[in-house]
Symmetry: none
Subunit: 131 residues, 4 copies
DNA sequence: GTGGTCTAGACCACC
DNA sequence: GTGGTCTAGACCACG
């Protein structure tokens, strides 16, 4: 699929999965009404324990982003897209804030931070979507 | 002191302490030869378990940034400043990369990311060092 | 028909169907000898998977409340009415007991429970049968 | 402790635990600031897998009813009591509604329902708290 | 086939 | 010691 999970980056796998599903919905890759991969399928594909995926899905259900069809599977909820687009900015903003805050606390001036920012932007610009 | 620890931001406390000590050295707030606060004192000041501070100090010793001083206490090692200045950029860069990478994966375009970046910069510019 | 199925209330659909058929028999809406709707028809009407209806019917057959009729369909068994009337009180009593028990465990006093009871009674009194 | 878990009553164990903790807080048996039993201790006491307890605790944390002290344990959050008292009525009301609604659908008249209600009240009145 | 729950046991980070 | 995460594998209810 379109997910890129890193089991060792410190962020819990179930959380990475949740975030990436939200991002996929925000982008329209997954749209309201779409069925999402079954727990078992996604687990197999990402080489992750099904329980971990199930945990992600349950979290997303609790947030109202996924909706259950008894015995059939899960689908993207109706209002999910707007919600995910909202959250996308929030989620990114949150982390960016942490980093910028730390950068300032480290004593770097705005110019140095700006330089680092440009560098990161450049380093990621050529990476393909799959990475 | 000059530290700003947030026990709830997901980053281990011992790691936050290590980073902030490095930043203090990079900025010259702590200079080679300076004694650093005792485990007990710093723990009391930051309202943190002494074991956690001890762990931070051990990590910094292992990196050669702190040096044991006659069995009395720890002091900033001689070459520490240059090393810490080097690390400062690396540490910030590392985290910034993670965030930018995720931002791109989320489907945000460069312009949106830029906007979020400016916003974070602005939101942190007025914050005092203590926050 | 006269059923009111809620797929999301935690009670298995097949069980809701079984209970409501029993209630219909207890009330005389369905009478011994009456043919009941085919699995297909009822499934279509309630927008439920036919397997689920089949399971309900099997359960009712096993209890002797429905009887196979010349290989053509199912009908309400002879002694069903009395049995269903007996069960009606038992079924309701059972669930009521659970709730009251939990209410007491929760520390609510009899007066508070009584108030909640009256409230529920009032809230359901005006609801039409279809809801 | 003060919990009464029935692994076979259809309600998930983790949910029963959550509810009973909320009830304990509502009653003041557990008060804001109190440490709650460790995952392992409660699991041992209730003869339940620790993961199941952990799930309950995580749910309660997500609701803001429990608060974490890193490496130390969980405690009842400040505003928890009011919240739990509110929820207590809601939780009981919810289930009571279901039952009353079903009772009406079953064709029982108010008088019969009332009789069942009184009976349940009587049957539970003499039961000790432990049951 | 689907998801939901539970157990068992492991490892980790933190205090 | 604490909770958090993950894996493995099982069973269940539902469609």
């Amino acid at each position: 699929m379109f997910f890129d999970i890193d089991p060792d980056n410190g962020i819990p796998i179930y959380d990475q999965v949740m975030r990436q599903i939200k991002f996929a919905i925000a982008q329209g890759v997954l749209r309201p009404g779409d069925r999402i991969p079954s727990v078992r399928d996604l687990a197999k594909e990402l080489v992750i324990n099904p329980n971990t995926i199930a945990r992600s899905y349950q979290g997303l259900q609790a947030e109202g982003i996924l909706a259950a069809n008894r015995g059939i599977g899960l689908e993207v909820a109706k209002g999910a897209r707007a919600e995910c687009q909202r959250q996308r900015k929030t989620l990114v903003h949150e982390r960016l804030m942490q980093v910028i805050l730390e950068a300032r606390q480290s004593g770097l001036d705005e110019e140095s931070i700006e330089r680092l920012y440009r560098q990161c932007l450049a380093e990621t610009s050529t990476r393909s979507v799959s990475q």
